[in-house]
Amino acid sequence: MILFAFGGIGGLVNASFSLNRLVHNTAWIPGHLHLTVGTAVTLSFMGITYWLVPLLRGRALWSRRLALAQVWSWAAGMVIFSNALHRLGLMGAPRRTMLGAAPYIQPEWQAVLPLVGVGGAILTVSALLYFLNLALTLVASRTEYPHGVAFAEAMSGPEHAPAIFDRWRPWLALAVVLVVLAYGPSLARLIASTPLDAPGMRVW
């Protein structure tokens, strides 16, 4: 989530029309993606499997400390990897390009390119630790997992809900009201202020 914040900050650059012209199709973009999908989403999924695989297997996770080390090494590797890609992007290095074979490689890229490899290697080691922990959980863990999913109880069931909520009409009416509130003022201003008498264009 810490790295996701930086992914969000970089995302503002991508979403901005003028700033995006600087980073469009550069290594900045994979740098950004690896913070959002490659860290926030991936670590979430890894956390889920650290919980779900023991549940499915009925055995405790092989090593909790190894799992923590794996998560932090993933974060550390991604800081190096993604920072390098962001910097390369700002210096104009293109994305999805075999840069090692590029004849136009710039001298200032040379100092940063090895960091991509270093970060990638740390990430790979982290991923292998992840697979190792899951595999050992499946085959080597002998501790019974204290299974059972903690489940939130609804305070009231559907039988307590007002019957009007089961009808389409109030929901559709509410949706129409909200749409009019949200888009109405803008549409009204556009209709009122847009000149509708622009002359046609002669294209031939």
Partner: protein, 123 residues
């Protein structure tokens, strides 16, 4: 085999596919990162990965499409399995993942008596 055990096996199958894909995505990613650092491993990877761009496509497809979809489907299946069991009036969803043991063995859940009382007032 009960429906709950089947759900557990299905979840495990989704996870297995997702994790195998993730391993492929990780290895192709390493090859790309090393290439940027000046270490070209692609000659050693042929014919499985024939070029940088072949590996690039594999990296994206395996990680984003297969792994993310697989893990999400698996989560969806799991949630569906749990709610289905609850609507059928069973006590807990924990039995699907470990059918051999009885439910309500840990203190994380509502005591069975409370729950039995609330369900009787509903009916």
């Amino acid at each position: 085999m009960t429906a709950l055990a089947t759900t557990g096996r299905l979840t495990g199958a989704y996870l297995a596919v997702a994790l195998v894909a993730l391993l492929g995505g990780v290895l192709t990613g390493l090859a790309q990162a090393l290439e940027h650092a000046g270490i070209n491993v692609y000659p050693a990877l042929a014919p499985a990965v024939q070029s940088y761009y072949h590996g690039l496509s594999l990296h994206g497809v395996l990680n984003v499409l297969v792994t993310c979809r697989g893990t999400r489907w698996c989560r969806g299946r799991r949630a569906a399995g749990c709610s289905a069991t609850r609507w059928r009036g069973r006590r807990s969803c924990s039995s699907w993942c470990c059918p051999r043991r009885s439910v309500f063995t840990t203190s994380t859940r509502t005591p069975a008596s409370t729950r039995a009382g609330s369900s009787s007032t509903r009916s």
